[in-house]
Point group: D2
Chain length 146, copies 4
């Protein structure tokens, strides 16, 4: 199980009413939104610019794999801490880890492993992770990222 | 046009990446989520308890009508202020007004009129708005609500 | 109230589990998705090409106003008919009307008026509705559109 | 990689406009909705009744884990086939597998492993998978489910 102590960065959010499904708990797909929010806040924090205004770009980062473990359901109004970090680099890929717990109680809610691949948007082929991106992650994480 | 000066309450949020559509702007349906978030924060602020944990309840509030005007598109990362108030009471209904502007610039983003009806969940028939609810709104809004 | 007899086109869908909220009914914002689905199927039906692959385009159609009336809640598994038509043209705008009823019973679920404006994506200024679009609508609707 | 030949059941859907993100492709969280849709259609097909009208029930099935592999992005209008099956039973859990491909081309889009746990809604503790559910799956899948 991913541990909060592995992370240097977290952001906070509160469960909104429309994220709750007919079971009265946060819908299982919504956690992918929470982890994405965590990743983008992390990227902004370490200085990576993400431009969502243009679908046509020189490079595109796509998601190749998501793993989610659900430990305890979150409910409307719960205040959550979303931990994020780049945990691993490959040649053309990098992997984010995420963890969500309830603020106050520390109750574990969910964790996530999310593998990203850098691709050429024209060909769809993987390309090398840019050095600038590796550098910004390395500057923040130090030797914590493999 | 609804004016921010008409409101005593507002809450804040930032546009998240997954709320942006293929045009690079916040999807038009997402604003209904933003205004709902504003309403629930308003209700909590004035002391109304909303229980989303149970679909079976003594009374249910349903939405009968929504009006939305879109003034300027919001984009990823934009920081928004969501103004909310109960503006009008009928015998079995009440109407929320909402307004969203960009924090800092004050740029008008959208407004909303949302008519709610109190119903008996078994019969689906309208029932009178409870005095307790009228009282909490009145205590907060004073004579601003019709 | 908008009547199904006003429409020449409709499409069908069934309510999905994740569209149902904590009250056990389709969330009020989801109907904007249903009506959008109806509009895009209508446009495809009359020969209008919508390209969602590129956020950067010569012209952009934005939504200026939505009105929604909710008549009866839809629930998981309900089979719905979504009626759509372009009902009105302005110089730089056009208005879609929509109506949703339950298949079989004919139960009225919701209706929608949705005002679109054609804009220059660079300046954000309204531009004239292209003749090609007016022509395709006119060819389908005949003199039903004002 | 999960293979379509492993499945006896599939359902079909077309990508809708509002499921497309700012990259012009289906958002990564939307596939969890597609797979859920596939599972509920599968359950209905084999005779399992799912009641989304009541959050308070005798038993509740929660999701403990999701794995998603993304092979090729789906775009607006793509017609997809969603394959679903119960692949594995534990004492208190069962596992769905899913696979999505493009109709016509057979292009692999994504696959999913989704672990469900049967719980007592009051205590949150796992309870044994009901025999009635095992029986309905067994009657459909024969000895294909472990």
């Amino acid at each position: 199980m991913i541990q909060p102590s592995q992370f240097k960065y977290s952001t906070r959010l509160a469960v909104r009413s429309y994220e709750v499904d007919w079971q009265g708990i946060v819908h299982n797909a919504i956690y992918l939104q929470y982890f994405e929010h965590g990743r983008l806040e992390y990227l902004r924090h370490i200085g990576v610019v993400v431009d969502t205004g243009a679908a046509i770009q020189d490079a595109r980062v796509v998601i190749a794999r998501n793993e989610l473990n659900y430990y305890s359901p979150a409910r409307f109004g719960d205040e959550l801490e979303v931990f994020s970090r780049v945990a691993l680099f490959g040649r053309t890929s990098f992997t984010f880890e995420g963890f969500i717990s309830e603020i106050g109680s520390g109750r574990a809610i969910a964790d996530n492993i999310c593998v990203h691949v850098w691709v050429n948007p024209a060909s769809g082929k993987p390309i090398e992770v840019p050095e600038a991106f590796r550098g910004l992650v390395g500057a923040f994480e130090g030797d914590r990222t493999q």
